[in-house]
């Protein structure tokens, strides 16, 4: 701020005062916000709950929701940034057709890791959210939830059962769609699991590391790439019986120093295919993607023996959403096989509870390799770790881990 004052002093004379006043006001604006946290809770759902006293009235609830959605006239939702734009039209059309809605549907590719910060800020500022429904990973959604950015869907059990035939038929349990603290808040529809993707021409399956700790082995020096984010390591503390934070950080650092590059997963996979690196830590989706395009591509995959992180994706309706009913319909509808049939063929991520070839292969692959798959919300210990990461100490640990990945 001292710098600012200096600038002002320098400029005095010719700078119109109003300019400075405006810029100072802009500076002060956030402070003002902080002092009056906007916490008007939406009341829509209480009304809905009253209307649906009988538990078996899923149909009634749905009709009511559709009626309100029609009144709202629009829904704005995010979809994964990696989803093709060609998916937007069919998703929107099918969604409208399914509920007989004649409303405007806007779906936008959004980088959730960037948008969720904005979403939390929107909530804190009391500003209306840009999107009615947002898509994000489990940990991101937990943060948004913690920041008061998601709305609970009342009677979600009945509604999901009404909308999703897999739930209605009993094939899928409710807790497979709404887990832990996110039950009734956010709805899981997609997941990927981390694995090793390797170039079969450069390394054989038996030479691959078995555990994460082995990544620090000198024989892998310069042979692999890993992404800059901590997702491959941060769930580690929840995976081991005995766990020492500092030792784990050393493991990460040794692997970081040993690696050939730190690249986005997509770039890393490309360079494994090119033959520059022998293997890469990446999610299963890339494997399917490359095989989909070139079945003869010289690559294979393997799970780690110690643990493999599972990332689940959720849809959440935003607090103060402009179109909450239409948003709810969309979030719930995205769990259905009908929606899955549209996005899955090109995105190639699995639906853990789904029934498609990809889903079956996903489950089979994990089962066969007896790989240990662990997600943030599927056990208490992981949830504890996730909560701890929210503390100052946890934050520092994560920062250190991110640096360790880059060999520091």
């Amino acid at each position: 701020m001292g710098r600012l004052r200096k600038i002002k002093a320098l400029a005095s004379g010719v700078i119109p005062w109003c300019v400075l006043v405006v810029s100072w006001l802009a500076l002060l604006m956030p402070l003002q916000l902080v002092m009056r946290p906007g916490a008007e809770t939406a009341l829509v759902w209480e009304a809905l709950a009253d209307a649906a006293e009988a538990p078996s009235k899923g149909k009634q609830l749905l009709d009511e929701l559709v009626r309100k959605a029609k009144q709202e006239g629009e829904v704005v939702a995010t979809i994964s940034s990696s989803w093709r734009k060609t998916l937007i039209q069919p998703l929107a059309d099918t969604f409208r057709k399914r509920f007989g809605l004649d409303i405007k549907v806007t779906l936008a590719n959004v980088e959730s890791s960037q948008h969720f910060a904005m979403a939390i800020a929107e909530t804190q500022a009391g500003a209306p959210p840009t999107y009615d429904v947002v898509q994000g990973t489990d940990s991101e959604t937990m943060q948004l939830h913690g920041g008061g950015g998601t709305q609970r869907v009342e009677n979600w059990e009945a509604l999901v059962a009404e909308i999703n035939p897999l739930v209605r038929s009993g094939k899928v349990r409710l807790d497979q769609i709404g887990q832990g603290p996110l039950r009734g808040q956010s709805f899981m529809f997609m997941a990927n699991v981390k694995q090793l993707i390797y170039n079969t021409k450069l390394i054989s399956e038996k030479d691959l590391p078995r555990t994460h700790a082995e990544l620090g082995d000198p024989k892998y020096k310069g042979k692999f790439s890993q992404p800059p984010w901590t997702t491959h390591w941060d769930i580690g503390p929840a995976a081991f019986e005995k766990f020492n934070r500092n030792e784990w950080l050393d493991v990460v650092r040794r692997a970081g120093k040993n690696g050939g590059a730190v690249l986005y997963e997509s770039a890393g996979v490309q360079r494994v295919v090119l033959g520059e690196f022998a293997f890469v830590l990446a999610q299963d989706r890339y494997m399917r993607q490359i095989f989909g395009k070139d079945p003869k591509a010289p690559i294979g995959y393997r799970f780690f023996d110690d643990y493999n992180g599972l990332t689940s994706f959720y849809h959440s309706v935003r607090t103060r959403a402009r179109h909450p009913s239409a948003g709810t319909l969309f979030a719930l509808w995205m769990t259905t096989p009908e929606a899955q049939a549209i996005w899955q063929p090109s995105d190639l991520q699995a639906v853990p509870y789904g029934d498609s070839a990809i889903d079956r292969e996903f489950r089979l692959g994990i089962e066969k390799s007896k790989a240990r798959v662990i997600g943030w919300l599927d056990n208490e210990k992981a949830l504890e770790v996730l909560k701890w990461y929210g503390t100052d100490e946890g934050r520092k640990y994560l920062e250190a881990m991110a640096r360790a990945i880059r060999g520091e």
């Binding site: 802009a26 060609t86 960037q114 997509s266 520059e276």
Partner: protein, 594 residues
Amino acid sequence: MSASTRRPGGITTANALPLAFSWLILAVVIVLLAFVLYMTFVPSLPTEPGFTLKHWSNVASSRLLTRVIPNTAIVGFGAIFVGAFFALPMAWLLNRTTLPLRATFTTMIGITPVIPGFILAMGWIMLLDERIGLLNNVAASLLGFSSIPLSVKDSPWGIAWVLGLILAPAIFFLVAGPLCRIDPSLEEAASVVGMRHLTTLRRVTLPLVWPGILGGLIYVFMTAVSIFEIPALLGAASGKVPVLASEIFYSVRPGGPLTATFAYGAAGVYGTLLAAPSLVALYVYLRVLERTERYQVITGKGYRPRETDLGGWSWIGVGFVVLYLALAVGLPLLVLLWASLMPVLQMPSREALSKLSFTNYDGLFEGLGGFGVISNTVVLVLSVSLFVSFFSFMVSWVVVRTQAQSRKLMDMLVMVPHAIPSLAFAFALAMLGILASRWLPWLPLSGTLGIIAVAHVINRMPYGTRVMNSALAQVHRELEECAQVCGTKTPTIMRTIILPLIKPSVIYLVVWTAMLSFQEVTMALFLSGPHNNVLSVSIWVLWEGGNLGTAAAGAVAMVATTGLLMFGILRLAGGPTAGLVGREVGAAPLTKSQ
């Protein structure tokens, strides 16, 4: 003339208009800078309470001094060196000589920024990687080694080389305008005095375009040290060659379970670190510019750009340009084309050749987002280049052509956004957008094309004002004063006298700004909302989603269209040198009747 006038009545009417517009744009800059600075004291999101100094204290580490800063310096100065090595001779060859195919060459140089950075880095790895690099393998087998440790990867020099190649067009375009307009009588005078061509170039031409060159180099230095994606792909990300840009990126985005509340404040701190040396350089630059009079090379006297006939030497010139184009345009375009024809990118081989297909081009138009995205892109690119040109002209007018006391401050202020990391800048803007949607709901900012346009305009103002400063500094003040005496007001003079005189610079600026805005991803992605998707984001998203082939196909389409467009624009404008009097010179025979 470094003298400034004390005047009794404040601002004279002649300057009121440019001053008003300058302060309008600078107000936006100031607000954003203030916000970025404010964020460096906020623990997490600016909407949360709290005050912290940790972003500042975190930055201080020995690693910064021993590794990050030296690497950054190598990358910055190396890129300048490489860039200038190619750009300066090319600027002269393509603007002041009779080299064949100049328009085509200029167009190709203009296309370079459209080629996505990830493709460039990929291309260099495919060429020079120790294990798989084509050049390395060929050279190694010729020399009988198993491999040659010549790589652009994991070395600051390699990064500097690639960045220099990429940034050479920026220098080229900054210098080209002034070069077109050097009063040839100055050069002629030199040759009359008996200087040889090279000496003339060194002693007369170079000093005359020095403000342009210096401004360009400072700009390129700042750009080189703030580009993230290429150093990241070439080793900065793995911590092997940490540079400031990568430090910024990872301090902002550690990834993992806390992605949603990472500390953007740290980016502001690094931005300050980047801004400080740049501002010192800028101050030096301003001192040079103070002697404006020395550089006013368009006078009202005899004025004909002279083109040197290289004669037998022209093939060397052509060779030089072709070498650059091969390295900076040909190679990446080939890689781009190759990638777009491969289902999965792989090294060229007989097996790979059998896989060539056009499948990546199927449904490309819809894949990129169809008409909506295209029209968004066109609107964005046009409005950004228009606004940047307009506001740069206004600011430079105040800085170069008036005696306003605030002009130096203005020139510094307008340069600062260049030092602020795009990500921090976009974040600040997005935050302001959110706050605006709460307090000023009528302002169409959050999630609109407008917010991306604002980001791009502010971000490109430094470049725009560099171009305009050096262009305006070259127009002799009497040309403007004469028009005043002839009864016209400043706006008319700008339109009828100044703009036509600096037309080549303006055209370069418009084209170049459009290209950069067209290609920019970081901010456009961050600020993207439901209705403001643009092409570059579509292509980036494809790439990041693992669809390299489709992304490459999209990039090929992008390069092809922009190339054609640019070719057309330069043709319409009369080619690189013909902007001003080339045509007349060509048409009318020289007569010297006294």
